[in-house]
């Protein structure tokens, strides 16, 4: 599968996420992780933006007598 270049500078995104130590010690992991995620997104199908995402919201009734 052809890869896609990461959309943003991976190190800047990682730093913004608070991963300063990880960027300094394991820069190859940061690049590899960003590339892997970009590759995965290539195959994500286009979809109806108004579609209800899974899981549908459910609100359960409160058990009888539990209201105070």
């Amino acid at each position: 599968m052809a890869g896609q270049a990461p959309k943003l500078d991976a190190f800047a995104v990682a730093r913004a996420a608070g991963l300063e130590e990880l960027v300094n010690r394991f820069p190859d992991d940061v690049e590899a992780a960003a590339q892997a995620m970009a590759n995965d997104l290539v195959e994500l199908p286009e979809n109806d933006v108004a579609a209800e995402p899974w899981p549908p919201m459910h609100i359960r009734p409160m058990p009888t007598g539990s209201a105070k």
Partner: protein
């Protein structure tokens, strides 16, 4: 009680229960034999992280008293079970096979453990896994990684690596695994055993360390389909009116099976031996009376893309704090995987969940026309552990993740042997909450082929372990 039962380590749970009932075997005798076997061979397999011998022998003594007194609680009473070390057992560490969790002592049993204790099962210990059910074999891990008993130079699959390896090594008849992208069915396939990912939320996930909340499943693994069904009964609390093995003997006549060929023929191209074995499965199913037809689903890569986006986003939420504070305590394969979610946007996560909704509909639509789906499980036999490039190449070549995304029950089992003597496998998928029909199909295939239950084959594995 008696010496009439030989090769105790290859007995199925059903055979053990029958031997107990006939007073030909005692829980203490069996538990001691399994502990001796684990002590003799686990140095090569590394399936166990913690063998809890003392507690297991105590439980076996109690089970023996109960059974002799006629107080047999369930088909698993006195039967040893081992647990992936991501599930809480009170008083024992839940390490998730990670340096980060080495001191994490569980303060309570997970509900699945409570259910097993209530059924009278003997809990033998905690089993190896890929770090946090996500990483992979690595020398950086705090404990040795598991190996495949069929050939210890090869990987056993993951992430429930110890759960598959322990069964194939004859260490225990039943194990519990977890499955977020195929982690029960992967090791089941590569180790030649049976693994079932039940319908989403059928088995409690409480007390199980999360990888990805909306994809995680807990399920049974065994050396036979019947044992898989009985263990699922126990994991769901042994509801008296429900037996997942109710239709095991019904056979295939009248059953409609949809073969999803495009997963392994065009979406990805499986190894030729895997493809040939799948064609043979189809031939056997037809010969046994099933009606087979080809079924098309969305492309495999579309399923796996959505599954991976969701998995990485949810795993990032679990691990972000440790990645900020202790990044060096992860093994490299795990660090790269849990880090990936940092590069996703909220919109991409929601988009994947929107795709998920129509993919669930697509599988439900297919299962209106057929009773069970059949697909490839893994595209390849087990890689060598010293071939990192092949491990990386084969890791994503699987068709398990779609059914974590959709929540349908899916079972993997042996479908043949490669020329190099390693197990090949097939996957069957059922309707949501219809594990009974799924297990019926698997049991009929098992009876017709005898792949998994052939004792001679297991004896060969024993020889290889030395």
């Amino acid at each position: 009680m008696s010496d009439q039962v030989s090769e105790l380590h290859w007995l199925t749970a059903a055979e053990i229960a029958a031997a107990y009932a006939a007073r030909r075997l005692s829980p203490v005798e069996l538990t001691q034999a399994l502990i001796a076997r684990i002590n003799a061979h686990d140095g090569r397999v590394a399936a166990f992280i913690k063998l809890d011998s003392e507690a297991a022998i105590d439980a076996a003594r109690q089970a023996e008293k109960d059974i002799i007194a006629g107080r047999t609680r369930s088909p698993l009473h006195g039967v040893p079970v081992a647990i992936k070390d991501i599930v809480d057992m009170v008083g024992l560490p839940t390490t998730c096979h990670s340096k980060i969790m080495l001191g994490n002592i569980a303060h309570a049993d997970a509900p699945v453990i409570s259910h097993l204790r209530a059924a009278g099962a003997i809990l033998l210990g905690k089993l190896s896994l890929h770090e946090f059910a996500f990483g992979g074999p690595s020398e950086e891990l705090p404990l040795p990684y598991a190996r495949n008993p069929w050939n210890t130079d090869h990987q056993p699959g993951g992430s429930s690596s110890g759960s598959g390896a322990a069964l194939a090594a004859g260490f225990v008849p039943l194990t519990v695994g977890t499955d977020t992208g195929g982690s029960i069915r992967g090791p089941a396939g590569l180790c030649g055993v049976v693994g079932l990912k039940p319908t989403y939320d059928l088995v409690s996930r409480h007390g199980v360390f999360p990888l990805a909340f909306t994809l995680d499943h807990v399920g049974p693994m065994a050396r036979s389909v019947a044992d898989t069904a009985v263990l699922l009964d126990a994991l769901t609390g042994n509801v008296p009116t429900r037996r997942f093995g109710a239709d095991l003997a019904r056979g295939l006549r009248g059953l409609r099976i949809g073969f999803v060929r495009h997963f392994h023929e065009t979406d990805m191209v499986a190894d030729a031996e895997v493809t040939a074995a799948l064609d043979e499965v189809a031939r056997v199913l037809k010969a046994e009376g099933a009606e087979l037809r080809d079924i098309r689903l969305p492309r495999l890569q579309q399923f796996t893309s959505a599954q991976r986006v969701i998995m990485h986003a949810e795993a990032w939420q679990v691990h972000a704090k440790w990645l900020r504070e202790r990044p060096g305590d992860y093994a490299k394969p795990t660090r790269r995987k849990v880090l990936s979610g940092a590069f996703l946007t909220a919109g991409e996560y929601v988009r994947a969940q929107q795709c998920r909704a129509w993919m669930i509909d697509a599988v439900n639509d297919a299962l209106r026309d057929v009773d069970v789906l059949m697909t490839v499980n893994g595209m390849d036999a087990a890689s060598r552990l010293d071939d990192a490039a092949d491990m990386a190449r084969t890791y994503p070549r699987q068709a398990r993740a779609p059914f974590n995304l959709t929540g349908h029950p899916a079972l993997a089992m042996m479908s043949g042997l490669s020329k190099s003597g390693l197990p090949l496998s097939v996957q069957f998928v059922g309707r949501a909450h219809d594990e009974v029909t799924l297990l019926r199909a698997a049991a009929a295939y098992e009876r017709a082929t005898n792949w998994a239950s052939n004792i001679h084959r297991w004896r060969e594995v024993t020889c290889r372990l030395g």
